[in-house]
């Protein structure tokens, strides 16, 4: 059980204080060995690690993964019961059909937008949740909500909780990595991958294929020889200090953190070195695509796979950034010009993401990696008054997952005939993360941390595991 009644890290370190030599350094830093990690789960895990793909801005469910034929029939007519409904950015116009055809995909024949042909081919692997809901229709809070379960900032993200619960399985790389889009960071920025009130070590380390980890590289003004001499001297100082002050395991942990940093200096650039991949792999992802944004995202996808392969526990991969001066230009926020916006964004997402998933599968990584696809909220089935775009809609939208422990080809829940509101098996972000934690071997009600009067949880005081999408071996 993980809770404040349990032994804190400091106490744990105190326990081993006298016999420190026998303890693996990584363990001192909260990065347990695989067997130690398994002991920290509440029940046997199906997934060891998580890859979360995130489309900020609010991806329209009814133009991508949830087909609504009624919109064709009702196109141009008022939304029954909500004529001139006011949503986030103002008044809504009439219903607007999706500009794109939906194509039967996979053996299940799941209808997926023609804009996503490559992802469509993977429909049989995916478990769609078409009845997701959010508590807010505003970008910043919604992005933070999807990542942390709270609309206000300052709470730990799912990745931070996972790092806190399970630690690392890799002694040389970070436990939790966020890969921002080359266009920039998502709405509310670092609040999406912060540790909140958990210790800072659980925050994500941020880098992508274009820009590496901050401060990782030895500066040019320090030669390799000087670095070596520095470490030696530092070792001497710290050893002497630790000997003069026994019984302070934090001192030893800090010495270990320098050793991990040195290993990370070697491993992280190696992990990020995409030139080690074959030409065929590069083609699979489309890293040489003439569209520079698509190529950049493809490289981030490839980086994500290399991190997952190296046992990084939680990777969040963004496709799109924060809002810009122009709605819908840098992310999925298609207020005014849906068609132009999604014809720009969908190809960026489609082929590289599909390539990533196929690659994970062919390397056997999907057996113990859980892949999530999430966004802030969906969009209205109407057009926004005076525009050809759609406004924010937190009342019903689609997310999906696939991989370890997930039943493929399942569509769970649904919105009404127009896609306006979730009506069948209405789901919450708490349900979503209860399920994610469940697959990681964790009980979302037991994973707690005390802060300001409350044993906090990723799922607040809510959440049910969505058993319908969990794969239970017969």
């Amino acid at each position: 059980m993980l809770c404040r009644h349990c032994v804190s890290r400091r106490e744990f370190l105190g326990d081993v204080g006298q016999g420190l030599a026998g303890i693996a350094l990584a363990q001192l830093l909260g990065a347990g060995t695989p067997s130690a990690a398994q002991n920290r789960t509440h029940h046997p895990a199906k997934a060891k690690r998580v890859l979360q793909i995130f489309c900020p801005g609010g991806c329209s469910h009814i133009d991508t993964f949830e087909h609504k034929p009624a919109l064709e029939k009702w196109h141009g007519k008022p939304l029954p019961g909500e004529e001139s409904f006011v949503s986030f950015q103002g008044k809504n116009g009439n219903l607007m059909k999706s500009p794109w055809t939906f194509v039967p995909s996979g053996e299940s024949g799941k209808k997926i937008s023609e804009l996503l042909p490559h992802l469509g081919k993977l429909a049989d692997d995916m478990a769609f949740i078409h009845s997701m809901t959010s508590k807010t229709n505003t970008h910043g809070p919604a992005c933070v909500m999807m990542n942390t379960g709270f609309v206000v900032e300052g709470f730990p993200s799912a990745g931070a909780w996972t790092s806190y619960a399970l630690g690392s399985e890799n002694d040389n790389l970070p436990t939790y990595v966020t890969i921002p889009d080359v266009r920039g960071i998502p709405p509310a920025g670092p609040a999406n991958w912060g540790a909140g009130f958990l210790p800072a070590e659980h925050q994500a380390i941020v880098f992508n294929a274009a820009e590496g980890i901050r401060n990782l590289e030895r500066p040019a003004s320090v030669s390799a020889e000087a670095e070596e001499a520095t470490r030696k001297f530092l070792g001497l100082m710290n050893r002497r200090h630790a000997e003069a002050h026994p019984g302070n395991p934090e001192l030893t942990a800090r010495i270990a953190s320098y050793e991990l940093a040195a290993r990370m200096q070697l491993s992280a650039p190696e992990a990020a070195d995409l030139s080690q991949e074959t030409a065929a792999t590069h083609r699979l992802y489309g890293t040489e695509d003439p569209n520079p944004l698509q190529a950049a995202y493809a490289r981030n996808c490839l980086l994500a796979r290399r991190l997952i392969e190296r046992d990084v526990r939680f990777v969040t991969l963004y496709c799109g950034s924060r809002a810009s001066g122009v709605d819908g230009l840098l992310n999925w926020d298609a207020h005014k010009t849906l068609q132009a916006d999604y014809e720009r964004h969908c190809p960026i997402l489609d082929r590289p993401t599909a390539g990533l998933i196929k690659d994970l599968r062919s390397r056997g990584l999907l057996d113990d990696t859980l892949v999530l696809w999430t966004t802030e909220f969906g969009r209205m089935p109407t057009h926004q008054d005076g525009t050809l775009g759609r406004d924010h809609n937190p009342d019903g939208f689609t997310v999906w997952m696939l991989g370890a422990g997930v039943k493929g080809g399942v569509s769970y829940g649904a919105t009404d005939e127009f896609g306006r509101k979730a009506v069948e098996n209405v789901s919450t972000i708490y349900d979503f993360y209860a399920t994610v934690l469940h697959l990681l071997g964790l009980d979302h009600q037991q994973l707690t941390y005390y802060h300001n009067g409350i044993e906090r949880r990723l799922t607040d005081v809510h959440g049910h595991v969505i058993q319908e999408i969990v794969d239970t071996p017969a």
């Binding site: 006298q18 509310a188 925050q203 320090v222 001297f233 710290n238 320098y258 802060h451 300001n452 044993e455």
Partner: protein, 949 residues
């Protein structure tokens, strides 16, 4: 809905009362079992069986768990159940008061009668009004001691020593003076002592050397910077709005200065509370004090506008929740925010209490307001009043004039409109002209509708039977612009190339707010006869929403790019907006006299407006804007603002009603009075929470841990104090000292408990690993700010300038939303103390972010201390560190010639001691081979530099 919960409170209080007053064997049995039920079953119940132990039944206790049987009936000393409780190890993090140990002891020694299975229910795991922190301050005298060393005789030491004796612990010897001055300097000022200060103290033969050291440090201006920073954590002070846009608040810093000033002046804390909550009420017209209300709005606030009502109400509710959370946590140590949706699950706080507080803050809005001296306000008022009156008169005259002209307008409008070409259309406007041969076409924009000029396409059409758009890049066209806005994260986002790419979704944006110029160079000279431009070809925008539309421009052509001829302009077009069109028509229908009159009136208006603008505005501070609420506050059922329940009047919390009456104001009470009333209730001498919470905070920062381990939560979920009597004694001292902190600091720091060494003792550690009972001084790592400040102090570059706008460790850019780029170069403006950093929310700057600096989205009553490789990387490789290592090296070469002297000086500056011969040799060796800066970089990375012992 009130009665069941009240009944529950009564029930719980009866139970606990029985526990406290247990006398006879039966009462002892009941009390002991209830204690187990309430305190142990949370973990050791039949389901959870933590450590294999189930304390629901006698059998379970006898069978025991992973560590063997828990209970030996008749022998408390052999029963771990008692032993763990008596040692304060159980309940974990929540040790029981001594009198409850005795209840368990007597019960076990009486044979541990256990007639029934215990069940854990919700009602057992919460507290009533008799919870420890809700009692009046006790007046216990420090215990008399037999075995304490002579130096342990101060009241504080007697309390501490008594608990230690109980636990079988003994204090550590006093720390040496060098250690002590380093500890005290960091503690009170956040800076290391200089070698000279160390020498002076170490060699001071006088008996009161230490006391004088404390006096000096408490009088230092740096004291307020250090302890002010602590307080800014507690009140979640940040200097940006947070959320998606996260724009900076550039006028929030006066609050930071107020806090520092107040700590330095040793302003009574009760006064500070009044000022935080109602500075505008108690010090109106005194800006230095009035800015304290910035506390109310120091938290994050979403600045994105929401059009739907649910969203607006929810956002407002979240704002108020932030104020309630901050206020109840900072001053009362209560988690009132837990009662937003229902009565508090653990503490006696009703849902109505939450809404009583909401009602108090209902008039507070996240905004800036003018804060100025009374004379300043009056002076400005005197200056602007006549101008505003003149403006009003002018407007009336203008109005009368247009009303007179209305019949004429009606009559002539169609014919006037017919004289002009239609207004420009953002979806596409054509300018046709006589065919002309041209290689260059340019559009010079001198006026727009709403903001910076933008174009999504500029087409240049050839004349003749098969017209072509010769401007297209695909046709060999090239575009250039006088200026182009650049987005930091995507330099090509607004490139002028977008006007000739045939793609209407992308646009060029000028970098000049009022004008812009786009030139298209054709592949070869062509005969052209029209251009066609658009700002929103896709038609995604409503007209009034769409800004940046070019409305005044000239189109010119050229063959050589040097001499230009005009092809078209907007002179003969109707103006873009209806208001401008109306003005044109009005001016046309007026006779000469009327026109002159209108013109002169308009001119006068313009002049008056300019005069008004020329009068300096009052300074504004992000200290909240206050507005009398229109409607009574209503309780939100289940916390949902769309679900309004009963009306709730502003008032104090029912939580302390047993001790002293709560206040209640009328629904119409002026909003300022509401805040003032709450402040008075919080600082009422009968309110035990405020001084207790304050005393505990002070203790927390001195020892790294409060007597109660959760400084902003004195409720059931918080940790109970290790030394409740001492805590109350300290709280009494707060009142004795008239709420001044400096005497309290001194009293705590003069104690032997504070002055003892941090030496390690295995036996003591086995009993009390974290030294909660203070058998040694708990060593700890410096906080992020102290690390950075110490680096600057040691390198010799610390700029001690106090106050004023902060510096930034990031580059700040805004394009709708704010983006923060970490700086790579650091100039002297950034060498001030870290408390003056303009800390933007959720922006983790190097060093500060990695070393657990809170991001101020939520209150941070205590900081986490984490260890990660990123910390190592930032201290080793960040450009700031390399720069400071060079400065440190320069300083050393200036202050000592020989390497061994430089090493000596470096150790004294950084660690406050001389190097050992072995260290000296290694360091001289390193300097000889790699140079001084490399050595200095290593010093900054040493554990000894970052830890206070």
């Amino acid at each position: 809905m009130k009665s069941p919960s009240q009944a529950l409170l009564v029930f719980v209080s009866m139970l606990t009362a029985a526990t406290a007053g247990a006398q006879g064997p039966e009462e002892a049995e009941t009390a002991a079992l209830e204690l187990i039920q309430n305190k142990c079953l949370v973990c050791h119940n039949s389901e959870a069986r933590t450590s294999g132990l189930d304390l629901a039944t006698l059998d379970g206790a006898l069978a025991g768990g992973a560590h063997g049987p828990a209970l030996v009936p008749g022998d408390a000393d052999q029963s771990p159940l008692y032993g763990k409780i008596a040692a304060g190890e159980m309940p974990l993090g929540n040790p029981l008061p001594r009198k409850e140990h005795d209840i368990v002891r007597r019960w076990i020694n009486a044979g541990a009668p256990w007639p029934r299975a215990l069940t854990q229910g919700e009602k057992r795991s919460r507290d009533g009004p008799d919870w420890w922190s809700l009692q009046p301050l006790s007046e216990s005298d420090p215990p008399a001691l037999q075995n304490a060393p002579e130096s342990w005789q101060s009241p504080i030491d007697r309390f501490i020593h008594a608990e230690m004796e109980q636990k079988g612990l003994a204090p550590s010897p006093p720390a040496d003076r060098a250690t002590l001055i380093r500890r005290a300097s960091f503690d009170l000022t956040g800076l290391p002592p200089t070698p000279e200060e160390i020498d002076a103290f170490v060699n001071d033969p006088s008996e009161n050397a230490y006391e004088r050291l404390l006096d000096r440090l408490l009088a230092s201006k740096h004291y307020g910077e250090r302890w002010g920073r602590h307080w800014l954590d507690v009140v979640r002070f940040g200097e940006s709005h947070g959320y998606e846009q996260n724009h900076l608040r550039n006028n929030a810093w006066p609050f930071r200065d107020y806090v520092i000033r107040s700590f330095n002046d040793d302003k009574p804390f009760d006064q500070m509370v009044l000022e935080h909550l109602a500075g505008d009420q108690v010090a109106n017209g005194n800006p230095d004090v009035e800015v304290a209300t910035a506390f109310l709005v120091a938290g994050p606030h979403d600045t994105v506008g929401i059009d739907n009502i649910e969203g607006q109400l929810q956002k407002r509710a979240n704002d108020l929740n932030d104020i309630i959370t901050a206020t109840s946590g900072a001053f009362l140590g209560l988690t009132v925010h837990c009662a937003r949706c229902h009565d508090h699950k653990f503490d006696p706080i009703q849902q109505a209490d939450y809404y009583r507080m909401q009602s108090i803050f209902e008039g507070v809005h996240f905004d800036q307001r003018a804060v100025a001296k009374t004379e300043q306000i009056q002076k400005r008022e005197r200056l602007i009043r006549p101008i505003e009156e003149a403006l009003e008169r002018t407007d009336k005259e203008l109005q009368a004039l247009s009303e007179q002209a209305e019949p004429l307008i009606e009559q002539q409008k169609p014919s006037i409109v017919a004289r002009y070409r239609p207004p420009v259309d953002a979806k596409g406007t054509e300018e046709a002209f006589e065919p002309v041969e041209a290689r260059f076409v340019r559009m010079r924009i001198s006026g727009t509708y709403r903001g910076t000029p933008r174009l999504d396409e500029l087409e240049v059409w050839t004349s003749g039977p098969k017209p072509r758009n010769a401007a297209l890049a695909s046709a060999g066209g090239k575009a250039s612009a006088a200026s182009t806005r650049k987005a930091d994260d995507d330099p090509k986002a607004y490139s002028v190339d977008h006007v000739i790419d045939g793609d209407f979704a992308k646009r060029w944006i000028s970098n000049d707010p009022d004008r812009g110029e786009v030139t298209v160079e054709l592949a070869r000279p062509e005969t052209i006869s029209r251009i066609f431009w658009s700002r929103d070809r896709l038609g995604g925008f409503q007209k009034t929403f769409l800004g940046g539309v070019p409305t005044e421009y000239v189109v010119e052509t050229s063959l050589d790019g040097k001499s230009w001829r005009k092809a078209a302009d907007t002179e003969d077009r109707l103006p873009y907006t209806e208001a401008e069109q109306d003005e044109l028509i009005l001016m046309t229908v007026l006779d000469a006299d009327g026109r002159r009159r209108r013109q002169s009136l308009l001119q006068r208006k313009k002049k008056l407006q300019a005069e008004l603008d020329a009068i300096p505005k009052l300074p504004t501070v992000y200290a909240g804007r206050f507005e009398q609420p229109e409607d009574p506050t209503r309780l939100f059922e289940r916390g949902n603002p769309m679900n309004k329940g009963e009306a709730i009047a502003p008032g104090g919390l029912s939580t302390l009603e047993n001790i002293f009456p709560r206040f209640e104001l009328g629904f119409e009470a002026p909003e300022g009075e509401r805040r003032l009333a709450l402040a008075r209730w919080i600082t009422d001498d009968r309110n035990p929470l405020t001084p207790r919470v304050l005393a505990n905070r002070v203790w927390h920062y001195h020892f790294g841990r409060g007597l109660a381990g959760t400084p902003s939560d004195f409720g059931y979920n918080g940790e109970r104090p290790t030394h409740p009597e001492l805590l109350d004694w300290l709280a009494q001292r707060v009142l004795t000292y008239g709420w001044r902190l400096k005497p309290l600091h001194k009293e705590i720091m003069m104690s032997a408990a504070y002055r003892q060494s941090s030496r390690y003792d295995i036996d003591a550690a086995n009993i009390d690993r974290e030294a909660r009972y203070l058998w040694r001084f708990p060593p700890r790592r410096l906080e992020a700010e102290a690390i950075r400040d110490a680096i600057l102090a040691v390198s010799g570059k610390l700029d001690p300038t106090m106050g004023g706008p902060g510096f930034r460790l990031y580059k700040y850019t805004v394009d709708n939303v704010a983006t923060y780029y970490p700086r790579q170069e650091f100039d002297e403006a950034t060498f001030r103390r870290s408390v003056y950093h303009q800390a933007a929310r959720s922006v983790k700057v190097d060093l500060l972010g990695q070393y657990d600096c809170p991001d101020s989205a939520l209150p941070a009553p205590k900081r986490e201390v984490s260890t990660s490789p990123l910390q190592a990387l930032s201290l080793l490789n960040n450009p700031f560190m390399l720069q400071q290592a060079v400065f440190f090296a320069e300083r050393l070469s200036g202050e000592a010639r020989e390497p061994q002297d430089q090493v000596h000086r470096a150790y004294r500056l950084a660690f406050g001691r001389a190097p050992t011969p072995e260290e000296q040799a290694a360091a001289v060796d390193l300097i000889g081979q790699q140079g001084l800066p490399i050595f200095c970089r290593a010093i900054f990375n040493a554990n000894e530099f970052l830890y206070v012992m």
